[in-house]
Symmetry: C2
Subunit: 169 residues, 2 copies
């Protein structure tokens, strides 16, 4: 399950697959909260939506986009709060959590860490063999994060296993 965190719009995508095999989209959704609601209630609404989908899909892993404080400070704080809630909920349900930077996600799905939103959406649509592009961009981003984790996370795990085996552990 990939999560593109945000207080106003939170993208959530569930993808099944592994390196070298076709990917399948199991779910995609965007959770929204009204900007005039107090932040704690907005976080609660998002928490309930995330938890519902964690219980429904029981994903092997949750991948969350890593938040940087490069942009608007107010937005970033809200985004960090949401990502903390998502990470905590996954941990409570015994699901492993991984963070990927935006450029890791872009590079994984398009081959370039500097791809724009349109390129990411286009590649996600092609990789998941969808008839229509996922809308809005947060939905496509969440799917891209899930795909990035399936490919990168998988490769990292196999490498770690090989190293552990070689070390006789």
């Amino acid at each position: 399950m990939g999560i593109d965190p945000g207080l106003t719009r939170l993208g959530l995508g569930v993808v099944e697959g592994s390196v070298g095999r076709p990917l399948t989209m199991l779910d995609v959704d965007v959770l929204r909260t009204p900007a005039d609601l107090d932040p704690a209630r907005r976080l609660r609404i998002l928490a309930d939506g995330i938890e519902e989908r964690l219980l429904l899909h029981r994903p092997d892993a949750v991948a969350v986009e890593r938040v940087f404080s490069q942009h608007n400070v107010r937005t970033v704080m809200g985004t960090a709060q949401v990502s903390g809630v998502a990470m905590m909920l996954a941990a409570r349900h015994g699901i492993e959590v991984h963070l990927h930077t935006p450029s890791e996600v872009k590079a994984a799905v398009t081959g370039s860490g500097r791809a724009d939103k349109a390129q990411v959406t286009q590649m996600v649509t092609r990789l998941l063999r969808l008839t229509e592009a996922p809308r809005p961009a947060d939905a496509a981003d969440a799917l891209a994060i899930a795909i990035c984790h399936l490919w990168r996370g998988g490769a990292q795990n196999r490498l770690a296993e090989a190293v552990a085996k070689a070390a006789g552990r």
Copy 2:
């Protein structure tokens, strides 16, 4: 309940009282998580500790120190994640959440928004008539946030009520 959020140390203080009456400390604690644990598990440990105390004390309100991204970016992101978790949990338990800036908290307990940690600890110790200063500083800060909310939040509520009454609502 006042919360001074942090991944490594989270201060938590429960104070009873109102404007113009003596304050009573009901609880003070510092939750800690090991720095080498992955962030999602650290958030989960803190969430469990916060929730335990929310259920134990059933506070009227939870006051959380507002996070700014002025300092170390990495630390701030972790702190924002923790504050998001605390806010969401309070909302889930139907408890109102308020944020106060560090300078509001300092001004409320010491009279100066630029007071240092020692002055805050000293005033908290005096206001709560404690025989020993709360340690570490995160514990004193959490109590200061709780006191700030009792005084500021209370005053704001009474003002809002008076305005509503005057408007015939």
